[in-house]
Amino acid sequence: MVEDWRFLDTGANDAYYNMALDEAIATARSKGRVPNTIRFFRWKPSAVSIGYFQGMEEEIDIAACRSLGVDYIRRITGGGAVYHDYNGELTYSILVDEANNLVPKDVLRSYDVLCSGLVIGLSLLGIPAEFKPINDIIVAGRKISGNAQTRRMSVVHQHGTILREVDPDVMYTLLKVPSEKIRDKLIKSAKDRVTSISGYLGREVGFGELKAALRDGFERAFNVRLVEGKTVEYEEELANQLRVKYASREWNFKR
């Protein structure tokens, strides 16, 4: 029998609310208050997120963020720094019970399984994407998506980024580089290492088309039916509380 999962498109919000809502959904899922969920969202204003174990000042040029009006936030998940451009990037989250048959116990294998929804979704757009361990999706040798996972309270929580369009110049203005001398070199090499949906296809792919393809990809890969849903009051209240943590200096600069 095909399982029903909840599908949420929570639109564009600021970094603090976005990450707070992810944690709130994970908590609600762990308490059995909501079904397994796939969420799409965007970041307004644009933001950089860093992995749980990264140093904020080590990775991010805070002054550049301030002058460009870009937020900065520490994620609950490990992994690297990501630039979430309002116009260029779509973020997804998967929140699924750890006991679900879909999810391997082994973290490395589970990245492959959970990323397969994106791989199939991208293939529906005509992009021959493939999973590349540990946590990337690549097309023709270049990265198009990065993903990160945590497991808490018996819930597997994976989120990740899909590049619709990419601008390495902006990316390397916000992310710190080892020295100014190599900034240009890094931008140049990023252009060889990173691609995007519009860049690869040579045509503009809108967010609507992208979301429809990825949603279809997840349904096929996971053999589930994604049912349009809404956040429940519990999630919204918890998200508003957690937002305070994610907006705090204590959290964002703790490492």
Binding site: G51, Q54, E58, G78, T150
Partner: protein, 94 residues
């Protein structure tokens, strides 16, 4: 202060900053783009390494012991890689 960056082949990046006194770790910070489940084990890892000798095998064993005791999972780096980076940071200092 000693600092080092170590990129694991086929894995993730580790960055270590530390201070030492008499061959022992006085303070250290381990950062990077690796994964560790549960995440807050990183603070405990740093805590247990403070005051320990800067000996690669001992550090590696301490991290491995912590992973077993707390049922932790490191992804993208191994205890020996973190120990290696700590040694590099120690060597870079003074």
């Amino acid at each position: 202060m000693g600092k080092a960056v170590y990129k694991v082949e086929g894995g993730k990046m580790i960055k270590v900053a530390l201070t030492q006194r008499d061959g022992k770790i006085e303070w250290l910070k381990i950062t990077g783009d690796f994964f560790l489940h549960p995440e807050d084990l990183i603070e405990e890892m740093e805590r247990i390494l403070i005051s320990s000798s800067i000996e690669e095998i001992d550090i590696s064993n301490s991290i491995e012991g912590l992973m077993k005791k707390r049922n932790g999972t490191l992804v993208g780096v191994a205890p020996a890689d973190i120990a290696r980076c700590i040694m590099m940071a120690g060597d870079s200092d003074g």
